[in-house]
């Protein structure tokens, strides 16, 4: 056993060494651009931050419990790096082009630079990583306890339980990371010093693990001896049933993790200074993983056979050398484990803090301070550093919180798998981001959210089973007793490993959401541009002005040219080129010619289609989008014009219909006029013929005939006058002049004219005027004409024994109203609409009184010229009542 004080002191000294390495490397990196620090091997070693205490301690524990299963965690990343050309290279290239700083930034950038998606991804990452941080805290705590053993009861650690120890470790790590990772803010978020320190730690942990492994093989008498002894002891050394659903699930998870873990993204993608480093990492990193897992199985098996039953297999790496009295090796192993934990915590919390501060804290701070005090660059970088530090503290406290809640569970590996499954929810969105242009923001957001919820339910929550009776009950019975929602047997599939259950359902629902929502939603313009940038990453054109690469058949070129330029011009162009046609120079010239007709972008697109081996660059796409926009606007204009035309055509048709109607009305009118004229003409002709033919007429009779002729010609004249009048009224709207008129005065005048007629017929004319001071816009003479017409009609056609004609006037808010009522025969119901037509007379009137039947038609015309209404009120029994409604002139209306 080593003393707790020695172990603590070693740990602190080691951290001091790391700090020194980081400091020196930072300075060196700033001095020269091509130092050893930027070599592909340092890059590869830094990627090995993937191997945490989980690998160092947990893999042995996992191998002791489940045999070969631990390998799945390293085979997935191996595959990803073997296939670096397809995914990692794209990620690195995009991130360099777009200055991506984190996985949240990547997804947000691809999906239209959405800040909401960035926030969602950040929150999920922080929650998802908490178990992973807890794992490191747990491993460091256990390792300190294991290596100091009974001596932990003395020295500085006396009386400190594992929670207190873990808190101390978490606080120390937070301080360490703040000092390490937030000394300055780099625009590209690259931390050369940190990378150097991580690479150093990678060497230390590999060396320590191999040292322990060699020691175990030596102590166990060779591999064969270890395996056969284990087999003899009843251990299943053949890992029966390893290659099952859980194996596949773990491989899938580790594939996702090497891409999606924030710290892996940070090191592999963000800290990458040269894309070609991937060429080395592609084999060197899998090699590192292989070396790291080479001795895991022997250590586990040797531990199982040589250690007392009940020993924690997670700590075999430490306890085996200790049990053999190899204290130096044990301390080295402790340093190795400490290295793997610190490197993970440092990089993970730096990566997460970048996400939290860039996507959550900064936007909030900037919104609430409205930019005060951050106007200068200094303010911003101070603020960034402060929010990074705050985020690191937050992330470690979340990790500690998770550790505290789940401190009763003992194995390391299952905790790590929870985190893996959490961050794996980003994988479908990332793959879609790289390869599927139609993946939309809404789909990505929904997919990540769905995956997160399923993960939280089926993987994250069950880890609290031992801490919360409620969770335990939920897991046994499902929520509200819904059996098929039990977290570890979703949809009733119970004969599946819980991990495979969580992995399958979360990724399946996640991917399904992504695909389905993408198919049913559309992208914004920015999303489309970003999608093109991401997916067509390697399909780009050199700067504008370079010649098209490749070649094209002259025939194709000529075809295009003819389509655009016309046959004559195209032929001239090709004749001028002669043998040169088809060369890049000629293609370039042709493109410029085409551009003159159809715009540069379209011309380029057209030529790109013809010329093999060329593609469209983003700028061109944007330009094209612009031209497309113009085209859309133009077509909208066209559409508007054409709809106007349609409108006009419809109006014309309507007018034509009216014209035809009027034409037929005119015919009818003419026939009526002819008829009306014919009657008096007939009598005039016959009487004058009599006068001419019969010489021996009596004087009295002659007088009578002449009088009749005179009367008929008067009637004829009057009829013609009225027709002319009506005609003038119907077409004379423009010449009409309304002037403010005192309505009552006009009424007085009209009544006076008619009173003589009334007296003559011995008729009572009752006048009831209540519209005093009403001013209307009217033509006084014409209005008088209408009133006289109405009153005289009422008098003329009244055959009542005690005939009475009433004239009433009044004013409403807006109108002046005159009613002329009589107790005459009235107008039959079916004639009411006809009385205002030309040449219509009441059935009764037609018999009793002469008249052309134009009076009411003229009257209505006149009133309508004065913007009023002339109508026949419905009456009961005898009598008719006409009403004129005229609007009061503006001034009077306002005065009301």
């Amino acid at each position: 056993m080593l003393s707790a004080d020695l172990v603590t002191a070693t740990g602190i000294a080691y951290v001091g060494l790391l700090f020194l390495i980081a400091y020196v490397s930072d300075r060196q990196a700033r001095k020269s651009k091509s130092s050893f620090l930027r070599s592909p091997f340092v890059y590869t070693l830094a990627i090995s931050v993937y191997c945490t205490s989980w690998t160092f301690y947990g893999a042995v524990g996992s191998a002791a419990r489940n045999g070969l299963e631990y390998l799945a965690i390293y085979l997935g990343p191996t595959l990803v790096f073997i296939g670096w050309w397809f995914v990692l290279r794209r990620l690195v290239r995009i991130s360099h082009n777009q200055r991506i700083t984190s996985i949240a930034d990547l997804l947000s950038s691809r999906f239209g630079k959405s800040s909401r998606l960035a926030v969602l991804v950040t929150v999920i990452a922080v929650i998802g990583i908490a178990p992973y941080i807890a794992l490191q805290l747990k491993a460091v705590t256990s390792s300190i306890q294991a290596i100091s053993g009974a001596s932990a009861a003395q020295g500085t650690l006396r009386g400190v339980d594992d929670v207190g120890l873990a808190f101390g470790v978490a606080a120390g790590m937070a301080l360490f990371t703040v000092l390490f990772g937030t000394r300055n803010v780099d625009a590209k978020e690259q931390h050369h010093g940190v990378v150097a320190a991580i690479a150093f730690e990678a060497v230390v942990k590999l060396a320590a693990l191999i040292a322990v492994g060699l020691f175990v093989v030596f102590a166990g008498g060779g591999l064969e001896a270890i395996f056969s002894r284990a087999e003899a002891a009843g251990v299943d050394i053949y890992s029966t049933g390893t290659f099952d659903d859980r194996w596949i699930a773990m491989n899938v998870l580790s594939i996702a993790a090497i891409i999606c873990l924030p710290r892996q993204f940070q090191i592999t993608v963000v800290e990458n200074s040269d894309e070609n480093h991937l060429r080395t990492a592609a084999w060197a990193f899998p090699g590192y993983l292989l070396l790291m897992s080479l001795f895991t199985l022997p250590i586990a098996l040797y531990g199982l056979t040589s250690m007392p039953a009940g020993a924690n297999p997670d700590m075999f790496v430490l306890t085996l050398p200790l049990a053999a009295g190899q204290e130096g090796l044990a301390l080295f192993a402790f340093i190795g484990g400490f290295s793997s934990a610190t490197s993970m915590i440092i990089v993970e919390s730096i990566a997460l803090s970048i996400m939290v501060s860039n996507h959550i804290v900064m936007p909030l701070v900037l919104r609430f301070t409205q930019g005060q005090g951050v106007g200068d660059g200094r303010g911003v970088s101070q603020l960034l550093l402060a929010s990074r530090r705050f985020s690191i503290a937050l992330i470690l406290s979340l990790g500690f919180g998770y550790f505290y809640l789940t401190r009763d569970s003992n194995a390391l590996a299952p905790i790590g798998l929870i985190s893996f499954c959490g961050v794996a929810q980003f994988l479908p969105a990332i793959i879609a981001a790289l390869f599927w242009k139609d993946a939309s923001l809404k789909a990505a957001t929904a997919a990540v959210a769905v995956g997160f919820v399923v993960w939280a339910w089926s993987s994250f929550m069950p880890s609290f089973e031992s801490a919360s009776p409620l969770v335990a009950q939920l897991m046994a019975e499902g929520p509200w007793g819904i059996y098929w929602l039990r977290p570890e047997a979703l949809f009733g599939v119970a004969d599946i490993d819980p991990l495979a259950n969580a992995v399958f359902w979360s990724l399946f629902l996640n991917t399904a959401t992504l695909v389905v929502v993408s198919l049913f939603t559309s992208q914004s313009a920015l999303e489309r541009v970003q999608a093109t940038l991401f997916v067509d990453l390697f399909r780009r054109q050199g700067p504008v002005g370079t010649l098209m690469r490749g070649s094209a058949a002259t025939g194709d070129l000529q075809f295009v040219a003819q389509r655009v330029l016309g046959i004559e011009k195209a032929t001239a162009l090709f004749a001028g080129a002669g043998a040169e046609a088809g060369t890049p120079q000629f293609i370039d010239r042709l493109e410029r010619e085409l551009a003159g007709s159809i715009g540069a972008a379209s011309a380029h697109v057209m030529m790109s289609k013809v010329v093999a081996g060329s593609a469209v660059s983003l700028e061109e796409v944007l330009q094209m989008a612009d031209e497309t926009q113009q085209a859309i606007e133009y077509s909208q204009q066209l559409e508007r014009t054409s709809s106007e035309l349609r409108d006009t055509a419809r109006k014309l048709e309507e007018a034509n219909r009216q014209l035809r109607e009027l034409d037929s009305q005119k015919d009818e009118f003419l026939s009526q006029v002819s008829h009306e004229v014919r009657t008096p003409m007939t009598s005039i002709r016959s009487f004058s013929e009599i006068l001419l033919g019969e010489q021996h007429l009596e004087e009295a009779e002659r007088q009578k005939f002449v009088a009749t002729i005179h009367k008929e010609s008067l009637r004829l004249t009057k009829l013609l006058d009225q027709i002319l009048d009506l005609n003038a009224l119907e077409r004379g709207k423009a010449a009409w002049r309304n002037v403010p008129t005192d309505a009552e005065a006009v009424l007085d005048q009209a009544v006076e004219v008619c009173s003589a007629l009334a007296r003559q017929r011995q008729m009572r004319l009752v006048v009831d005027k209540q519209g005093e001071g009403a001013s209307i816009d009217a033509d006084a003479d014409r209005l008088s004409q209408v009133l006289i017409n109405l009153v005289s009609n009422a008098i003329k056609y009244n055959d009542a024994p005690e005939p009475v004609v009433e004239v009433r006037s009044r004013r409403s808010r807006r109108h002046y109203i005159v009613e002329v009522a009589d107790n005459g025969p009235g107008i039959a119901r079916d004639e009411r609409t006809l009385v205002f037509e030309k040449f219509s007379r009441g059935a009764t009137g037609a018999v009793t009184a002469p008249g052309a039947g134009l009076g009411l038609a003229i009257s209505r015309q006149i009133i309508s010229h004065m913007n009023g209404r002339l109508e026949l009120l419905p009456t009961r029994g005898r009598g008719a009542c006409f009403r004129i409604t005229l609007p009061l002139s503006g001034g009077a209306a306002v005065a009301e």
Binding site: L68, L71, L75, T78, L79, F81, I82, G83, W84, W85, F86, G222, L223, E224, A225, F227, S228, I237, Y238, S239, T240, T242, F243, D244, W247, I248, N251, E275, N276, R279, T280, A282, W283, P286, G287, L290, L294, L297, F538, R539, R549, G550, G613, S614, A615
Partner: protein, 71 residues
């Protein structure tokens, strides 16, 4: 080898690796027998692993460089 063939080779290597690590191919070597004193499936997995690493090393320097990207 041509550029395009190299890229195809990289894809085949990756997919082949994935297939070899998964059942049913992986289960083929679960024969409950020690080879060189080690269970056969362990030897199998590590051998495939080493071959993949060698393949990646061979391809790493041969796959096209930035300047000669696919057009």
């Amino acid at each position: 080898m041509e550029r395009r063939k190299l890229v195809s080779a990289a894809l085949v290597l990756t997919l082949l690796g994935a297939l070899l690590f998964m059942p049913p191919l992986a289960s083929v070597f679960q024969i409950h027998r020690l080879v060189f004193g080690v269970p056969a499936e362990v030897i199998y997995l590590f051998t495939v692993w080493v071959l993949l690493i060698v393949g990646a090393w061979w391809l790493g320097s041969r796959l096209p460089r930035e300047s000669e990207d696919e057009g």
